[in-house]
Every structure is written in C-alpha cells, then in structure tokens.
Subunit: 408 residues, 2 copies
C-alpha cells in the first residue's frame, strides 16, 4: 500500500515552526503579517522543489497542483491554513497544509495519475487575525461587504494586510470557485481536545463543525477620581464587565453545555491606577452545534449584558462581528475516511468539531469532511500544543487513502 | 483688604486648559510628556511676564519667587502641580499652581514685601504617570532607589521623561530642600468629592491626607483553544481577575468604608477572540486614613487574590509599586486657613482628603495644610471636572490671606 514519506513530512513541520517562532517555543504567524508572508514564501519554495504546479489565487490562497490527464476533470481539494493565532502552536493548520502537500508530493513521486486534479491548498487567514476563514470563504463565495467594512481584526489590519499581499477587493471576490468544477474537500487537523486521547483512538472522523458567533461588548460608565468618589456612587465599567464574565461563564456551563463561551480580549479607558474606569470593551465569542442553539445563547447572553450594565449604572453597546454558521459534513466523505482508516488498521470514531475550520466554508460548495488526530492534553492555541509523530504520520496516510478512494 | 485679580486668574486657567486639550474637552498633560513640556514653557513665560524670579530645580519643579528683604529669611511655599491624568480635568492641580502664582503676582504688583521669601511652586508628576508625587517627594527628600527601579509608569517612561527634561538621578536627589529653611506649605485644590457641595460650604480645611497603596496583580493560567477546551477544564486568567474585582469591591464596601479601592488598568495576553486568556495583569489601588487601616486592607485583599487564583486554577503574583503614607496637617496652618476664611466671610469645614496631594510630601518636612474648594458633582479626573468661577476666586483669596497670616 502506498504511504507518505514520514521523515519528509516531519522535517517540513519542524522547519515551518521556525518561521514566526516565539520565545517560549510557540508560533506567531498572524494572517497577513510579515511572518505569514515569510511562511508563504517558504511554502511556495517547497511546492516548486517538489516539481508541482504552484498557484496563488486573488485571496492569497496558495496551492500545489497535481493535474489529471484530462484538463476538464474535476478538482479534489485537500488542505488547511498556515496562519496561526498569537503565540499559538506548530500543528494547528500547518499539519493540514503540510500533510496535503506530502500526499500530492507522494503521488507525484510515484508517477500516479488520478482521474481528478488534486490540489493541496493553504487558505488565507483561517484564525481570524483579520476576518476568519477569509481564504476559504472567498473560494466558497461567502464573503459579504460586512467582512470588509467590519472585519474582526479591524479595518486597518485588513487594509495593511491586503496591501502587503497585493490583494484587492476585486481580486478576493474573483477567488470564488465554481462548485461544478469541484470533486470534494478533505482537511486533516489536530483535534484540539481530549476525546481521542481519552478514548485511546487514532483517528476522529468529523461529522460537522460548530457555528461561532462573536461580538464586542462596550460597557460605558463614568470616569472619576479613584480616591474621592465614594465606592457606592461609582459607575465603574470594569465592575460591569467583571460581573458579566462571571455570570455568563456560569450560565453557559449550567445551561448550554457542551456549548462554550470565551472573553478573549479586554480593553479599558482611560486606564490609570487612580481613575475609575469609564469604558471597558470586551470580546465575546460563543459556539454551539446548531444555529438554533446559537440563537438561544445570544438570546440569553446579550440581555444578560444589558441587565448587568443597568445594575452597575452603566450602558452597554453590543456589536456583532464575524461569525461562522454550523456546517455538517458530507456522509460520503465521512465514509471514505472511515474506509481509509480501516484499510490502515487504525481505530476511529465519529465526533463533532468545536473549533471552526476551513472545511465549514468548503462544505457549503462541495462534499467535505475532516480527519482529526489526537492532541496531547487537548492543548491548542498555545506553545504547548503537541501531537505525536506517529499520529501525524497516521493522519497523513489516512488522507492519502481517502484521496485515492474519493478520486475514483 | 487685598484681593487677587479674579479675571487674570480665570484667564490663566482657561489658557492653560488649551495645552493638552482633548477632543471631549478634557486635558491630557501627562507628567514628562510633550504636552507637559508645553505647559511648563507656558508657565515659565507667565512667571517672567509678571516680573517674578523664575527657578527650576533638579527634579523639574518650577517656581515663581517673591524674595524677602532679608536673604536669610525662611521660605513659605504655596503651589500644586500642572500635570494631569489621561483625559483629566482643567482644575486638578492647575488651580493650585495658578492661584499660587496669582497670590505672588498680586503681592508683587502692590509692592508688598513679606518677612519670608514667598515661592509659588509647580511640582513635577503629582499624578503618577511616572512615579507620583515625584517633584514634592524630591523636595522632601523622600525618593528611594525603588522609585527609580520600579516606577509606577514603568522604567522606560521614567527614562524617556527624564531625558526630555534633562533630569538625572543626581539632579533629582539634589532638589531636596533643607527643612530648616522652610516656613511652611499651603496648597489649594478642588475637593474632587461632594462634601462641600452637599453641605453648601465655601471652603474645606484639610486635616490630613489618606495613604495610598498600589500593586500589580498578575493572574496566570493556561492559553487554550476557546472552542475545543471544555469550559470546566480551563484555567482562564480573566475569570480569576473578574472574580477578584467582584469580591474585592464588595469586601471594601462592607468592611473598609470609607476606605476605597480601584482597578484602573487591565491587560490580557495573548488577546484573541478565540484564545482562552493565559495572563491578566490588573492594577489595584486602595486608600485609607491611617497606615493601620491600609495594613488591614492589604492583609485582606492580597490573600483574597491568592484564594481566587487557586479557586480558578491560576497563580497570582503581587508586585507592590509606589504608594503614599497617610499625612496629617499642621494644626497651626489649619487654623490660619480658618482665620483667613473667616476674614473673607466664607463658610468652611474641616475634612479629610481622600486624594493624594503634594502636601503629603511637604507636610513631612514643614508645617502644611490644604484649602479645598467645591467640585461640581464631585467629578474629577474627567473632562467633566468643574469648579465655579466664584469658588476659584474664593479659594485664591483664602490662600492670599493665609499667606499673609503665616508670613508673620
């Protein structure tokens, strides 16, 4: 049975991890940043070195292509993203792109032709430093004016990043692919959770991806002298934010499990030891399996912010920003992955993804599914993110076999 | 009875408020900033225009001097500070410096000589953008190595600011004044509270100033993916900080009133919608009337931070930074202010100051006290800070009469 070149794949992963490497061994390769540009150059060189066709579309997505004999053949896309969160890990995204490259490289090497064009893709800005699922949404034709006018990373970050990559709104919109030309999409990714590890399983077959909603909550009170204004007369915006965090956390745990929420950013003004905070801006994100459950979370958390603000003598402004709709996998692709794992003698289970992935964009225009491999201790978005070599190799081989099944 | 020139004083206040003026009508003239430098130039020009002797010491304190006939006479110092908090008001500090200048200018104008040298001073960095009570502590000989190695505003702010004003550690330490040369210190300031307004009184005679403690609380947890890490397995540093804020606030209100606390700054890392916060740094400040009460607050709040951290699976590091010891006024100066107010037919009351002021440094080396005038709605450290013209004029006239009493 054909297998990938394990050493080459592991060496690629190690080499890429040096680009944007942080002091504590993590990786900061934020989308459209100078580090991201360096990662892109490295990827292009690897594609060229393998003698594969390199392509970059108008949204900055980069691909390595192994063409079918028939130019009119459909295209089977495999891949993920090379951008990371700030001080994140070396596997999230990178594993999917480099495994896809390795699969295409392996087939090229043995001279195997497929009845489909095989394309290993690296999508722009999956993590949302700028927009989130930027490249895959462009390919899926899902970008709206709001993605450009109210991007999660701010309009300046978007504008500067587009300039750095020579992207324009027109070029990005032109990256849209015709679904009629596609044969499917498969993405391999670390689980970023502990379900596989706890069950001692090799492979997770993803049946769907949770939806994500995110919003800025701006609590506004009244600046005052931190000595002379009596405690009971204050309108302290941080008191409101702190109470919201506490209550929202408890409510989500008690009423919406396994749904989750996070407040991952906070900014305070004016910002001095001796001034009562007048304004606190809080980044709220929450995730659940269906749009109905997300609606229910929004209908609880947003009014909670209002109630807490009023109780603290504050006002609150809620501004929703980029989110992702929940996305079920294609049963045919799920079964192909299961068959591939069985052929390799690897144990597997079906599970839901609590993280957003490029597959949720792609699954809207072509049959798609994901392959998960175990994450040690479930840690991700952290320098401590780790997946064992054998799991990396297993995943890439499952991807190769899945491609061979789907290509028929 | 001699009185100050009201129109000139009000015009000075209005003119100074333009330097560092913010969009919403406040003032940002942070100590040692370019705006502070502009304010200092303006002040020097006003002193020169009045034909007064100008002096700047090694800590950047600026003075207007009306010399006594006898060069060996003692010096009576009056004044306050021209620096502001970020987006603060136009009266805090400025009122004290400009009233002092006006008193000296009035005496110079009528050719009145005093048996003491009279010095109107503008102290460097009262508010603590860099150190807090920086100039007055230098004069009082209270600066320690910790003020330079662990300044509240950070070592870079201190170093850059010292360079901007051509200050050196040696020059700052040389600003120390010999207590044997001083006759006393009087500062006029807005109340920054509502006690005078609520009691409909003209003048507050300050019997003492609360002590201030400040500390950085760094809560440390574990970064993780905000989707895949189950809520109950997270070590979210912001959850700890939020719980601390909530509990500390309640405890201070319930157990330490009229003592107060404030969390006026918060910083979070890594800082993304989709990453569980790994580290939150919180600025904690608390104030009370005696060192014993401050010790009791510290002995409650610091262990609370430890308990909350543990309960949330976090660690916390507490780093105390610049504070101020509680400072009682000199009874002789308090009585001189009361006599002055009586002579002017103004109502008055004794009260404690809940804000730190340069007087607390000066009171340690020479008999000192403060004059408060009403603040509308008690608002301070805010663009909405306001004191009525008549209260400004009353305060300056009380200062003039107090000077005439103390000079004898």
């Amino acid at each position: 049975m054909l297998t990938i070149n394990s050493e080459r794949l592991l060496a690629d992963l190690a080499e890429l991890a040096e680009i944007g490497r942080t002091e504590d061994g993590g990786v900061s390769r934020l989308a459209l940043s100078p580090e991201d540009v360096a990662g892109r150059q490295w990827f292009q060189e690897r594609v060229n070195a393998a003698g594969l066709e390199f392509r970059q579309d108008g949204a900055g997505n980069q691909s390595a292509i192994l063409p079918a004999a028939d130019p009119q053949a459909l295209t089977l896309i495999i891949g993920s993203h090379l951008d990371t969160v700030r001080n994140g890990g070396r596997f999230d995204g990178a594993l999917g792109v480099l495994s896809a490259l390795e699969v295409v490289r392996t087939l090229k090497e043995v001279g195997q032709t497929l009845p489909v064009h095989l394309e290993a893709i690296s999508f722009t800005d999956e993590e949302g430093a700028v927009v989130g699922l930027f490249g895959s949404q462009a390919v899926a034709g899902q970008l709206t004016p709001a993605h450009f006018t109210n991007p999660r990373g701010g309009v300046e970050t978007l504008r500067d990043g587009m300039a750095r990559l020579n992207l324009t709104v027109d070029s990005i919109l032109a990256a849209r692919r015709d679904p009629a030309t596609l044969a499917g999409f498969v993405e391999i990714h670390i689980e970023q959770g502990t379900r596989l590890e706890e069950a001692n399983l090799d492979i997770g077959v993803v049946t769907g991806i949770v939806g994500i909603r995110s919003a800025w909550l701006k609590f506004q009170g009244q600046a005052a002298h931190a000595g002379t204004m009596p405690m009971l007369k204050r309108a302290d915006a941080l008191w409101g934010a702190a109470e919201f965090i506490q209550q929202a956390k408890t409510i989500v745990i008690d009423q919406f499990s396994p749904g989750v929420m996070n407040c991952g950013q906070i900014a305070l003004a004016p910002g001095s030891f001796n001034i009562v905070p007048a304004e606190v801006t809080l980044a709220l994100e929450f995730r659940h399996g269906t749009e109905e459950q997300l609606d229910a979370m929004a209908a609880t958390l947003y009014p909670l912010a209002e109630t807490v603000a009023q109780a603290n003598g504050l006002t609150v402004t809620i501004t929703e920003t980029s989110g992702c709709v929940a996305a079920p996998s294609a049963e045919a692709v799920v079964q192909a992955i299961e068959t591939a794992a069985d052929k390799l003698g690897l144990s597997h289970t079906r599970l839901m993804s609590f993280a957003g992935h490029d597959t949720q964009s792609m699954a809207a225009i072509t049959p798609g599914a994901m392959i998960f491999v175990p994450s040690v201790n479930g840690i991700s978005h952290s320098p401590k993110e780790f997946t064992a070599d054998q799991d990396v190799i297993n995943g890439a081989n499952v991807l190769l076999q899945t491609v061979l099944i789907l290509a028929q």
